[in-house]
Amino acid sequence: MSNAWQEKAERVSPLESVASHAILVLAVAFALYPVLWVVSLAFSGDRPLVPEVLPIPHHPTLRHLTAVVTTRHGGDWLFGRQLANSIIVSLATAAVGVIIAIPTAYALARFRFAGKERGLAALLATQMFPTVASAIPLYLMLNALHLLNSRTGLVVCYASTSVPFAIFQLRAAFEAIPVDLEEAAMVDGATRFGAFLRVVLPAARPAIAVTSLFAFMSAYNEFILAATLLGREEMFTLPVVLQRYIGEYDQQWERFAAGALVVSIPVMALFYVAQRHLVAGLTSGGVKG
């Protein structure tokens, strides 16, 4: 990654280096502190109630973690099914969102056509309407389509946010890819569509991967719609399961924390794998020219 904020000629003084590290360490502490509390809670056996500065589990135990992971119902490994649900729904959301968005984003980046500006403005406008009012009509529509209580219905709902998001992201990414590449391919005899498939798509791979990751993540972490739409325990996604540890009267915070940990690990792993592309993929297209 070539970096522009380079100051090769300028020697970095030790003082400055220390200052940079100090800022970053502070920021990391700020970023990790609440997470460490969740981790500590997940592993705590009995907690004496005194305010504590350091998030260190008391009487460390794996009890909560195993209890969450080994949840069964009848002969079924319920937790396994729910994890599978989460992954299937999130993968499908990412796939649907990105597949619908790719050609559209490409057209928005490359073509001039009637209604383009208005369409884009309308798409941005849809993001401004609070879901509190549109959730109920969506529910009724899904019911009419017999899609309640199904993973398909949930994917349809999630797609309603992942599609606009993916369009915005990918449009910027396609705009960043030099037009010369396609033109060269077209001079060599490729059709426009062929050039799009063979030249533009491969060049946009990091952006597509990162956009998919975000679509995946938003579906994977969502629980309000999932709790409303899904009616069967074996259909639940993991955030709904988590939510159930916090009842009206009975609040099992340790279980909740343990569950949160289990839920977060796959996303963290994905982030770790993708982080090299994250920066490039998210904004490669923002700067025009």
């Binding site: 073509f111 959730a135 069967r232």
Partner: protein, 725 residues
Amino acid sequence: MKRALVTALFALLALLPRRALAAPIHLWHAYRDDELAALVAILAQWKGEPVDAVSLPYDAYNAKLAAAIPLGDGPDLFIAEHKYLGDFRYRKLVAPVGDALEPGVFSAPALAAVRDGEVAWAVPLSNKCVALYVNTDLVSRVPGDLEGMVDLVGTIRSPSGAAVVPLAFETRNAYYVAAIFSAFGGALLDDQDRFGLVGPAAVRAIELDRWLIEKHAAPEDADGALVTNLFGSGQAAFAISGPWLAASLGGKNLHYRVEQLPIVRATGLPMRPLLGVESVMFSPTGAARAEVRALARLLASPEAALIRARYGTPSARSDVVMPAGDVRAFAEQALTAIPMPSSRAMSAAWDPANRAIRKVLRRDVDTEVALAEAKHRYDDVRRPLPEGTSPLPALLLLGILGLWGAFRWTQIVRAPGFGAELRRSAPAYAYVTHAVIAVGVLVIVPLVLGAATSLTAGNGDERRYVGLANFVSILTARGGPLLTTGSFYLVLLVTVFWTVCNVAFHVGIGLALALVLSRPTLRLRAVYRVLLIIPWAVPSYVTALAWKGMFHRQFGAVTALLYWLDRTLGLDLQPIDWFARFSTAFAANLATNVWLGFPFMMVVTLGALTAVPEDVLEAAKVDGATRWQRLRLVTLPMIRPTLMPAVTLGAIWTFNMFNVVFLVSGGDPDGTTDILVSEAYRWAFTRENQYGYAAAYAVLIFLMLFGVTRLGARTARLRAQAEAT
């Protein structure tokens, strides 16, 4: 290509399994753990038609019932607390239970709870109320009355030497205060649905609650989890709680017994808790089926009662002897308990009551004033909905708009060059049509329908067109002063302030970290970057709740930090009640949301910085620009085009950031930290489900955001033009 896409989509959908086949009797419940085990054991006794028992998440339970039953997709019978009966009856989700209710076998409060006059609307299963837990390791004797708890302060030591609070209960919660209030002869709601927490009795009850706290006989800010923790860890000698506390004491080495709630010395009368009756209810279709009624009789049978008792739930029957121990103690307490009002009005009473109690406990205002305010709020929410009006003017307007649109359309089509334009655009349309359809169906249609709801009032059959009445009511602050708590304008100011602060911090922190991180000489760059992105990867509701816990006045980590600073630096910092004042509660929300949002801006800025050409910076340096000048004059202008869309989107998200406000401050103190979206949510879900009113809020939010972004885009365009010339 498009065909391939569609095929891929369908293939994907086909992979997802179909709905399970319907079973003859549908039973819904929200049980888990022990209660679920008891239900499974009871259903094992059933010999009739197969039963499909579905366990639903508690939070979404009522919403699902309300949505599914009218559409014929719901259960035949379901288990719910009797307190929802008023709402269920209003929405026509339940039917009378008829012969499913065995006469003469249920306890009087349970029967009173499910009956309206002579008609029974549910079959009682179990009684739920709170009672007094006694930690017998710490104390042997129960004080003669509630006030006696104060005499125990400082006299009890736990084996580990930790301080022990005499009585743990949720002192800020109207549900528990109602038990004290009952000893003064009051109730939260009278039988005409008038707000009851007013008058001298209410003042005395709440001030007694405050006195217990101020004498350190009870914790000041305890939620259910804290009560469980205090009692479970031996740091409370007594607790007022329900059977759920016993369930979580299971694995702990703690000896306790359950007794009746004490009397209040001031009146000599016993505290009477509110009673929740878990009951079987029938959907209208289910009530007609004989086998459904038979199943309900089994669920309420003496055998079932004994099975439930084994799992720690007291029965609502009076003819079954409960086994000695907790279960019997709770069953006896239930006999003197007061059934929770099942009227719909109750849902509108909790929020004002809780707010008033918290205000009194904080000594913000006089008790009388706080209670009068609560009554005013209750009455305001309950004010009659606007009358229906004729939709004719709106239809007329719609018709005229339609005609005008059609006219414009023909004009455009006939305009010279349109055909050429269309032909030129045709290839692009091949790429976008499917997305237009998808967004239209998934996003635009629900949005338009949702917006249309804002022109209506009432629920179910009583929904009616009211024109702009909801908007008029919101924009006139419901007839009150324009800048009082909860008025649209004050909430709008808070929301704008909230958005500005958040975006400033997001961009500021994001930019600063990105600038530091992008230095190529920095060691451990990749490590820092991954660690700093973590807040983004964790589900936001998890971290919002973690932050709320950290801000707890007595036990939170932030309090611990303050103590630690006191000790190490010799400062004299006092623990802060974060949610008692607007400034601190707002700061707590802000800290949480800044934490959630800065990684996004950091990553966006990092991306933008990679695109700043090196030679330009070099040239600036050669020209003698200082580092600050290079940042301000070269880097920032160059990354602005990339940042602007992200900032706009971020501002929109923040403006509508419901999770953080709702989960961290919950609007405390007194609803002042609520933003427009959380206010809309309250109208939709806690204030008698006034969806129309909530939708009007949503439309106003939309119009404002739309207007501001259009204005922003126009000024940006003008500025670009000005710079070009």
